[in-house]
């Protein structure tokens, strides 16, 4: 500090910083961070009849080694990966396709298409679950009749009820509901690509397919990456649809069990099964860790290699 600096007028305390940040931080910490930490903390205890004892990592060990727990845990985890894989293979490519079509130049009615296709995303799973059960119900016969009318009737089955197809069917429903989100995000990125660049590739002799493959796709890769990570987080948090359609027992024979439903059963119990806060917290902690590791791996291996482009 030189002498001159001491004469400088003192900077006032940045009250505005406090006022801007405090309300959000206060609510967020109180009603999200603290409860979550509190819950995760619980996973180190064993709660029985109102008394809790510290057990260290015992709950986690039980969860991954004790057959009674681990079977369900690994099953749910595996299912969750399948669920995620189907979304990645279906939801995001469909979203991409729709976005590309929507962004074709001089397309009429594109606003209308956009709004309508986004509609399912707005609806609650109560509605979605109910509607699709009706549509796929063999009793109501809508899907069956439809398949018969296009000559594929013999392929109809009670998809939601069969172990082999229930999870896939639910994934499809989920894809149907959420395809609007990747579509919107990718569409927005496509709109941001300057026309000049596309024109340049046309003049360079690229046909529309080449323009898409060599120019547009690389430019929307960051968005696709972001969509993927959002999908990952959302899928590993998924619960509502399964719960609404298949209940907490995620039948048949746990073939639709995801980490979310597994957590629910463990934490809150189900029917005659008593909920266990500490085991539930352990599941929650593992879910959190899986998501965290997934996101980290993604950031480390994928995101680093993908550059965002300024136009």
């Amino acid at each position: 500090m030189t002498q001159q600096n001491q004469q400088d007028e003192k900077k006032p305390f940045p009250w505005h910083l406090v006022i801007f940040l405090a309300p959000a931080l206060l609510i967020y910490v109180t009603f999200s961070v603290y409860p979550l930490l509190d819950t995760l903390f619980l996973s180190l205890f064993n709660t029985q009849q109102g008394e809790s004892t510290f057990v260290g990592l015992q709950n986690f060990i039980t969860l991954v080694t004790d057959d009674n727990w681990s079977d369900a845990f690994w099953n749910a985890l595996l299912n969750n990966f399948k669920f995620f894989a189907i979304h990645m293979l279906l939801q995001n490519p469909i979203g991409l396709l729709l976005a590309v079509l929507l962004s074709s130049p001089k397309l009429r009615l594109s606003g209308t298409y956009r709004t309508l296709i986004f509609m399912p995303t707005m609806l609650s799973v109560v509605i979605i679950g109910f509607v699709w059960q009706l549509l796929l119900s063999p009793i109501w016969g809508i899907s069956e009749n439809f398949l018969y009318s296009i000559g594929l009737g013999q392929y109809f089955d009670a998809w939601l009820g069969k172990e082999g197809s229930a999870l896939i069917t639910l994934s499809f429903i989920s894809v149907w509901q959420f395809v609007g989100i990747p579509m919107m995000l990718i569409y927005a990125t496509l709109l941001n690509i300057p026309d000049d660049i596309v024109d340049a590739s046309v003049v360079d002799g690229a046909n529309p397919l080449q323009t898409f493959w060599y120019i547009k796709l690389p430019l929307i890769l960051p968005t696709i990456a972001m969509v993927s990570i959002l999908t990952f987080v959302a899928n590993f948090n998924a619960f509502e649809l399964i719960y609404a359609v298949k209940g907490a027992l995620a039948g048949p024979n746990f073939s639709t069990d995801l980490m979310g439903t597994f957590f629910y059963r463990t934490f809150f119990g189900f029917q005659l099964q008593q909920g266990s806060a500490s085991m539930g917290a352990a599941v929650a902690t593992l879910m959190f860790l899986i998501i965290l590791v997934g996101v980290m791996l993604f950031l480390f291996f994928v995101q680093r290699r993908i550059q965002r482009f300024q136009f």
Partner: protein, 286 residues
């Protein structure tokens, strides 16, 4: 003749291309809307007709409003919608306001702890707040907020803030620094800079955040059930869920209830949708 050839070569190519594009989009639109339409048309049919011809439009013999009557009579749909609306609108507005304030503070000012706070909010995007339900509930009880809409609003704000802060931060970064500097030279206080300059400019971004925040709040079943299950504070999603549970065999009532539940969301969506694309195309969520 030559001209005709030219027309064919360039225009017919374009026409067939745009026909394909429309065909695919139309097909998907049908897929997206079909289930919803099935719900709506069957809501106006008698229970027997629903089964006999699920895809038929209601005609004079099968048309009935009995389902709607039942819904409106047997449950407090007006109140539920009102509760949902209040909770959603207040929560979304506060998420927008508080989120914008925090995003602004985190991106504009350098201070110690900036990174930690940013990180803290980022974590919130990954962990579902639902995992903390029990603690939240006891907290609400201690604060005497159980069974109030306030409790829901608070939780939804906490739930919506992380994504809002993330998206809005990215947007704030796109606002030219010169604008705030010009204002500072104009002797404008930090508060006025935020409220008179930044906030209006964040409008399109806010529409995006509003839609992304609104969907899970409006559709949430969980917290209404735990925090505010009382008749007075019931939200429409919970109301519909319970109605569906209760009248599960009475399909035309159920479908009517579902139809009624779809309407408000669509209205809210159309309010924001025009801004949504503007928001999406001018900033963060790329």
């Amino acid at each position: 003749m030559k001209i005709f050839n030219d027309l064919l070569s360039s225009s017919s190519r374009n026409v067939s291309k745009s026909v394909t594009v429309h065909a695919i989009l139309l097909a998907y639109t049908v897929i997206a809307l079909f289930p919803i339409i099935v719900v709506i048309i069957n809501a106006f049919k008698t229970r027997k007709a629903i089964f006999k011809d699920p895809l038929g439009l209601p005609d004079s013999s099968s048309f009935t409003l009995a389902g709607f009557e039942e819904v409106l009579l047997r449950s407090n749909f007006g109140l539920y919608s009102w509760n949902s609306l209040v909770v959603t609108l207040i929560a979304v507005s506060l998420v927008l306001l508080l989120g914008a304030m925090a995003a602004w503070a985190l991106t504009e000012y350098k201070f110690r702890g900036n990174f930690i706070v940013t990180f803290l909010f980022a974590m919130g995007i990954m962990i579902p707040i639902r995992l903390g339900t029990v603690s939240i509930l006891s907290l609400m009880v201690e604060l005497n907020l159980a069974n109030t809409l306030t409790a829901l609003v608070l939780v939804y704000i906490a739930q919506g803030l992380p994504l809002a802060v993330y998206i809005l931060s990215e947007f704030v970064r796109t606002i030219p620094k010169e604008l705030t500097e010009a204002a500072r030279c104009d002797a404008v206080s930090e508060y006025k800079i935020f409220f008179c300059i930044i906030l209006p400019l964040l409008k399109p971004a806010m529409a995006t955040v509003a839609v992304f925040t609104m969907i899970p709040i409006w559709n949430d079943l969980w917290f209404p059930l735990i925090l505010a299950p009382g008749e007075e504070t019931r939200t429409i999603t919970l109301g519909v869920q319970q109605f569906v549970g209760q009248y599960v065999t009475n399909w035309n009532s159920v479908l009517s209830a579902l139809t009624l539940a779809i309407v408000p969301v669509l209205i809210l969506y159309t309010i924001f949708s025009r801004q949504l694309i503007r928001g999406l195309t001018s900033g963060a969520v790329k």
